[in-house]
């Protein structure tokens, strides 16, 4: 090799290094997760007697959480081994009713375990979304029986107040969620949800198709669902469903004593389309 050619060859080194170092241009996919705020869910009956009491639910508020397996790097979580929990407000209120009952409820101790009765928990199939940006949990189940709320006698110490209450019979509920899936993109981090639900209360069973969006936003008209700052991603296709009633935010009836019409029919903002529901 002639000495004069050596510099030229060495000059090629930078270019070669650049070629070797060619690497990914794609951003990482996110870990599977549910959203952490409440969801507003619409229940559509798919099976069961439409007149049965358990088929009357039009929707609910769902609380969800994602848990991670222990044993990750340096004592942290394994963020790619997530578990989801779903807790319908309807079931939660059954427990609250017992917790706040003025007298002790036999069979209901108020310990931590009781607090978790309404949670349906299930593992995600994978730590990362599939090709359609969906994260799946095949099954989540919660089953519990809220014991009977005993009858309350009048308190002789308070002559002005009648505390008398009749006993409330026990309630057995079961939620079997199957094919639960969450949209997981940077734009919708688990905030759109869809699943099949087999709901049983006492001896009555109904099956629903459930679609939900987070956060849960109270509405009267469709415009309430697209208000800036209400927390719902403004790109989502949402609408107000007045048929769903949140017992914690009951509708306002007209006051017959005033000439104005005070009626307010509260509903919840729900997804207008199957997920992914975008404008």
């Amino acid at each position: 090799m002639q000495p004069s050619k050596r510099p030229f060859l060495r000059a090629l080194v930078p270019g070669a290094l650049l070629l070797v170092a060619g690497s990914s241009c794609k951003q990482p996919t996110m870990n599977c997760t549910t959203a952490h705020l409440y969801y507003a869910a619409k229940y559509e009956l798919t099976s069961g007697n439409p007149d049965s009491p358990c088929a009357q639910q039009k929707g609910d508020i769902l609380g969800m959480q994602t848990y991670f397996a222990t044993g990750g790097i340096n004592g942290t979580a394994k963020f790619d081994e997530p578990t989801a929990a779903i807790r319908p407000q309807y079931a939660g209120l059954l427990v609250v009713e017992a917790q706040e009952y003025p007298v002790e409820v036999p069979g209901f101790t108020g310990e931590k375990g009781v607090e978790h009765w309404p949670n349906a928990v299930g593992d995600f199939e994978s730590g990362f979304p599939d090709g359609e940006d969906l994260c799946h949990v095949p099954e989540l189940v919660s089953k519990f029986t809220r014991p009977e709320l005993p009858a309350i006698a009048d308190d002789p110490m308070t002559p002005d107040v009648d505390e008398t209450a009749e006993a409330t019979p026990p309630v057995a509920v079961s939620y079997e969620w199957t094919d639960a899936r969450w949209l997981n993109t940077p734009d919708a981090q688990g905030t759109q949800f869809e699943a099949n639900l087999k709901f049983t209360q006492d001896d009555c069973t109904a099956e629903f198709h459930v679609v939900a969006v987070s956060p849960a936003v109270l509405c009267v008209t469709d415009d309430d669902c697209t208000l800036t700052g209400n927390g719902i991603n403004p790109d989502f296709a949402v609408e107000c469903d007045n048929s769903i009633d949140d017992p914690l935010n009951p509708d306002v009836a007209d006051d017959p004593m005033t000439p104005e019409d005070e009626t307010v029919d509260f509903g919840l903002c729900i997804l207008a389309k199957p997920i992914p529901s975008y404008e």
């Binding site: 510099p7 060495r10 000059a11 080194v13 930078p14 270019g15 290094l17 650049l18 170092a21 690497s23 990914s24 241009c25 794609k26 951003q27 990482p28 996110m30 870990n31 997760t33 959203a35 952490h36 409440y38 508020i61 609380g63 969800m64 959480q65 994602t66 848990y67 991670f68 222990t70 990750g72 790097i73 340096n74 004592g75 942290t76 979580a77 963020f79 929990a85 779903i86 807790r87 407000q89 939660g92 427990v95 931590k112 607090e115 978790h116 928990v121 993109t185 940077p186 734009d187 981090q189 688990g190 905030t191 956060p215 800036t228 927390g231 719902i232 991603n233 403004p234 790109d235 914690l248």
Partner: protein, 1075 residues
Amino acid sequence: MRRSAWITILGAVAAQAAVVSTAQAGPSDAVLVGVVRDASTGEGIEGALVIVTGEKIQGERTMTTNVSGLYRIPNLPPGTYDVTVFAKDYGAGNKRTGLQLRAGVTIRVDVSLVRSGAREVIEVSVPAPTVDVGSSATGLSVDREMAQRVPIAIPTGKGAANRSFEAIAEATPGARNDTYGTSIAGTTSPENKYYVDGLSVNDPGFGLNGTGLSMEFLEEVRIEAGGYMPEHGRSTGGVINAVTKSGSNQFHGNVWAYYTPGQLEGRREIARREGDAIVTERNLNWIGDAGFDLGGRLIKDKLWFYGGVSIARTVYDLTSSWNRVALDPGGNALIDPETKFTVTERIAGTTQRFKAQGTTVQAIGKLTYSPNKRNTLELLAIYAPSLSGGNGTFGMNAQTGQPEVLNLVGDYGALARKYRDNSTDLQFKWNWRDDEGKWNFDTILGWHHQLNQRNAVDGSRVGDTTGLAGTPSVVYRQTNNFYGADGSLLEPGMPGYREVHSLTDLTPMPSGAPAGACDPMMYGYTDPTTMDAQTRSVICPIRQWTSGGPGLLYDRRLDRLQAREIVTRLARGAGHHVIKFGVDFEYTQYNSNRGYSGNQIYRESTNGTNFADFRMYSFLSGPDDANVIRNLNWNVMSTTIGGFIQDSWSIMDKVTLNAGLRYDAQHLFSGDRSLAMALPNQFSPRVGLIWDPTYSGKAKLFVNYARFYQSVPLNLADRAGTGEPGLQSFHNAVGPGACNDPLAPGANEPGGACTTDANRIPIGGPADPDQRWALASAGKTPIDPRLKPQSSDEIVAGGEYEIITDTRLGVQYTHRWLHRAIEDMSRDEAATYFIGNPGYGVAKDFPKAKRVYDAATLFIEKRFAKHWMITGSYTLSWLRGNLAGLFRPETGQLDPNTTSDFDLISLLENRSGYLPGDTRHSFKIFAAGEIVLGNGQFLRLGGAFRARSGGPTNFLASHVLYGFDESFILPRGTGERLPWNFSIDPTIGYTKILRKDLRLTISMDVFNVANFQQILAIDERYTFDEVNPIKGGTSADLANATTTGGTPITVNPNFGNPTLYQQPRQFRFGVRLSF
């Protein structure tokens, strides 16, 4: 006679010497190029021998001209050189002496020879040209001469004790100090690129300068503010390059000591605040540094060495005292009618004195080896350990250079920490050049390492289960409440009546104080705004107090490995070309081990009924199944590969076209080794055109366009890219067995009163799977798939003219604007976050990130010659937008690319306006001269003068989710402007030449000689209340504004009051022995 005629010819030739292009070889070395011509025909002379000699190079560098007479001698360290040219039939030789080469410039010296048979070498002294007719870069070069003669670095502030090179960078036109360093061209200091001899020393985690090398070890600091060529990249700020001294064949050295005593400090204006029972005064005790350096030869012309050591120390006095509410004879609290502040009185015998101190040692060693003409090898090593805090003292914040605490409202062990901040740098450079001067190769391998530890003052460290590191930090912050739910005034003892803590409830009174001085007693208090007559009992009120352990502790280890290969090729074709291309690889790593002492910080609720797990690394593995992480340890990394090609094309020696392209690709990786963020395809075009209208190197007009991309510091991969999982629960503090004192023995142990589930207050609603825990933060923050790297565009234009020898006058205009920013955002009010580009992609409905900087600068520069120098500039500038940069100046939040600026849609209103760095007018003059007293004695005089108009201020309120100062009630910058501030820093010195090459200099610098105490900052917190921004509001709208709850706003009594004044007058005394 004959000889003088020769000199005439050569004098004309000398005028052609001109600085050409910034297409330099190494980042700090200069290059000499030129053409040897026949004076009569103008033809290039082939085969002429060009010899360069100088103090800074071993032996001599030689080069023979090519067929067109061109020569090029690269890799010349900054210094003074002689050039001799020999050509057959052109006499015995022609020598240019005294060519001053500054770092990074390419100087062009053309030589015209006359055919003759002369037998002697002709010698001409050539002042190097000052107008860089080949470059469109803006900025400043500060050489050793200027740094020693002018007091540029103010003794307080970041890197000031040892006069670090980044403190010097503030002298650049348009630059200003910010919280973490020097802001250049309207950017923030973490956006700068910091180099020492071409070794990148940026803190890999946060982008700050990681090696604050003292100016004493430097030959020159070159600050490129803008318009720089593609070989510089990965920065949207300035490029600050420190060039270290080198050895030479002669032995040279210095011994120095500087001392700034606190006793001579001017009177300090104290910012007055609505009273707390603790008042702390901070005063400088002393700042000083001392050191030595030595350079010389090990083997003449082959192997040189340079080395030095310096030690710098900063000591502040922190004096705290107890104060009680002053009462009138009627037992009513006194209110200052002017300020509406409660009058307080100092309690005798309660004064406690502390020190905040830090010590930094720097050691540098450098070997330069030139085995033959083709090769130069250089090895550089720097070790700079730094210690502060502990043993009854407070530490210094290494990121800001200030004491770590302002007000001593807490136990010593909770407020003070012990810091260790080390940096280590190692670099190997190899330069190879061919004999013809066509090819030049530079290979650079470097390693920058940092260790940053924050330990408890008892020496216990992150993860320890005993000592202070095993003790939780507890923040007490109970508030006053004198009103019932219906608005009625409450009396002591009534339900709901509540007062802030009395200091004696939280800490024992100093022993010298009169007993009972702080005992509660009933007194009347008339609220100065509502005029309500309240009854109070706490006479020594304290609004916030921290007890227990020190809170966050960490052990961070950061590394930056670099490999660079740069090839320079000299070519000819329609003029002369200096073509340069190279590849640049960086691997950075950030091992961050951090944890809260005793696992967590407990924070008292404002009503005093519970303690929250305010900060605790933890995660849930099942419903209410919390797992506490004692110390979170992530190891994150990043790779950056880049390359560039550029040509500096001198067209007919009149116009220079600099054009090039840079490519970079950065990939950040999470703590689990998976990709955290990909930032490929950073194509940065740069084009500049320079024209010398005089055709003689005395003037230039230039224009330049450039795009700059920002390298993302690893803090993003660590926090957002890997996750900082955290939970909160609330511990009941009322009743038997409650968690009423998290510091009680056993309370924070497993099963203790503050860890048992029985005391955790149920907080979940009916639909919450977790009833006793709330998620504060979880795992990784998702990335917008369409994310683009952060970048800025810039156009600079200007002109310069050499008005007299060594002196140039210039004018520049800079227009720089943010193109895209990377930030974290939430579209659903903090429920979920993602990282993207505001205004693009997923974040398309967020406003675009804006930062527009416009500046016109007029400057004059005369380098030190004929006993005097001056550098002065006036800059008229505007800085507007909604993003300051990589940190938030309003709160000091340093989370590059994940600040809270764009977090929530509800925070975005009113954010556009004049940014904190907006300074309309800025004057800077640095001058120095010496008077020859005879007998080897000189009197040195000089000084610095700065004047700056005040910055904008704001009306800030609290945000429901984000807390104080996050809501702009009125558009950004609507507040009254801060006043102008001036500082005059003269210096006087005396130099005596003791004997040949040995001189002694003593000096006195006086900073802020007039002791101006102008306001530098005011309290911009209009209210503690939650108030939503009033879109486009004016100050007239404030009167009717309400909180988010619809109630009238309670104005912060301190709003608009000064919070920071200018540094008082300080004297720095120096002595230096140099040989």
